[in-house]
Amino acid sequence: METLSYQDVNRHVIDRCREGDNRAQYELYKLYSKAMFNVSMRITNDYAEAEDVLQEAFISAFKNLHSYKAEASFGSWLKKIVVNAAINAVRKRKSELVPLEERTVGDVPDEVYEDETEWQVEKVRRAIQKLPDGYRVVLSLYLLEGYDHAEIGEIMGITESTSKSQYSRAKKKLLEIMREPQFAA
C-alpha cells in the first residue's frame, strides 16, 4: 500500500519526464538523487565514484524511461539501475567482488557481542565503510537496500547461499571492527 501511494505521487512527474519535460526531469532528480547517491556511496565507498555512478544511472534512467512499467515503484526501478551501475564500477577497479575462499559455505558463528544500547548510527555506518568491498556490498544490499538473498544473488551473479554466507561473514567482520579500540576512539 505504501509503495502504491508513493507511486501515485510521482506519476505525473514521471509522465512529464517521458514527454521530455526538463523541469520534470529535474524534479525527479531532486526527489531521488540523495537516496540514490547514498546507495551508490555504500556500494562504491568512494565519493567521486559514487557521483559518476549517480550521473550515469540518471542519464540511463531518463533514456530508458519508456521501458519503465508501473509494475514496481519508480524508486525501486531507479535503485536497481543505480545498484547495477555501482557494482559495475566496483568490479572495474577490482575483478573479484566475492573472494574465492569465502565461497565455501562454512559454519559462521552468530554475533558474539550485540549490545544494542551501544550502537549508534554513525558508528555502524563508518564500520560498514571499513568493510572490504565484497562484504560491504552484500551487507549494504541486504541490510540497507532491503534486497533478500535471492535478489542479491541475482544482482551479483552468485548463488543465494553464497549471498547468505557472505552476509554472515560481513556481519561478523562488522562487529569486529566496531569492537576495535582504535575504532571507538
Binding site: R18, E19, G20, N22, Q25, Y26, Y29, S33, K34, A35, F37, N38, M41, Y47, A50, E51, L54, Q55, F58, I59, F62, K63, L65, H66, E111, E114, E116, W119, V121, E122, V124, R125, L143, L144, K171, L174, L175
Partner: protein, 216 residues
C-alpha cells in the same frame, strides 16, 4: 522477526543516508538527458491527424505533410499561371492558329508553304505601299484598293473553310492560290502607279531648280 543489527538498522534506516551529491552534479546530467524528440521519436513520429466526423479521418506524419504542402503550393502556382496565360487573347489566337495549321498540314501539306510564301510577299508589298504618302501624291484610290483586298481576303477564308469539307482539295487550292496571286497583282499595280506618280513629281521639282541655276 528482525533482531540485533538488522532491527537497529531498520529502525534507523533514514539516518544512514548522510551523503549528498554536489549540487552542480545536475549540470553534468542535464546535457545528456534526451530532449523531447529523442524520447518521443523512438516510439512515435509527430503525427497530424484530420477527422471529418466519423466517416473520414486520416493521419500523417510531419514529413508527409511538408511534402504534401509543397506539392499543393506548386500546383496552385502552376494553375494560376496557366489561367493567366489562357486569359490573354494573343495566346488564345496562337493556340487556335497552331491547331489550324496542324489541320491544314494534314489536308494539304504543300499549301502551308505556298500560303506562307504569298503572305510574306503580300506583307512586303503592303509595307512598300505604306512608304508612300498617298495624300501628298494626290491619291484617294487607296480606299478602293483596301476594299478590294478585303473582299479577296474574305473569299480566301471562305475557300479555306471549304478546303476542310470538300473532297476536291485540288480545285479549292487552285482557287486559293489564284486569290493570293490576284492580291499580289493588285498590290503590284498600285505600286507601279505610285512609282510613276513619284517619278513625275520628281521631274517637276528638279526642272524648276535647273531653271533657277541657269538663270543665275
Amino acid at each position: 522477526m528482525k533482531e540485533g543489527l538488522e532491527k537497529f538498522v531498520s529502525e534507523h534506516r533514514d539516518e544512514f543516508d548522510v551523503f549528498e551529491p554536489r549540487p552542480e552534479l545536475w549540470q553534468k546530467i542535464c546535457p545528456h538527458v534526451p530532449p523531447i524528440e529523442q524520447v518521443k521519436d523512438k516510439k512515435e513520429a509527430k503525427v497530424i491527424s484530420f477527422s471529418f466526423g466519423e466517416r473520414a479521418s486520416f493521419s500523417a506524419d510531419m514529413f508527409f505533410m511538408r511534402v504534401a504542402a509543397a506539392i499543393i503550393l506548386l500546383l496552385g502556382c502552376g494553375l494560376t499561371l496557366f489561367l493567366m496565360k489562357q486569359n490573354t487573347p494573343e495566346a488564345a489566337y496562337t493556340i487556335a492558329a497552331t491547331t489550324e495549321q496542324a489541320k491544314l498540314r494534314k489536308i494539304a501539306p504543300e499549301l502551308v508553304e505556298v500560303e506562307a510564301y504569298y503572305t510574306s510577299q503580300i506583307e512586303e508589298k503592303k509595307s512598300q505601299l505604306t512608304e508612300y504618302d498617298l495624300k501628298v501624291l494626290g491619291l484617294d484610290e487607296q480606299q478602293d484598293i483596301d476594299r478590294e483586298l478585303a473582299r479577296l481576303d474574305s473569299s480566301y477564308t471562305q475557300l479555306k473553310k471549304q478546303l476542310y469539307t470538300t473532297p476536291n482539295t485540288d480545285k479549292v487550292m487552285g482557287a486559293m492560290i489564284q486569290n493570293l496571286q490576284i492580291r499580289i497583282e493588285v498590290l503590284n499595280r498600285q505600286l507601279e502607279v505610285l512609282q510613276r506618280i513619284e517619278k513625275l513629281q520628281k521631274q517637276r521639282t528638279t526642272q524648276p531648280q535647273k531653271d533657277e541655276t541657269s538663270n543665275v
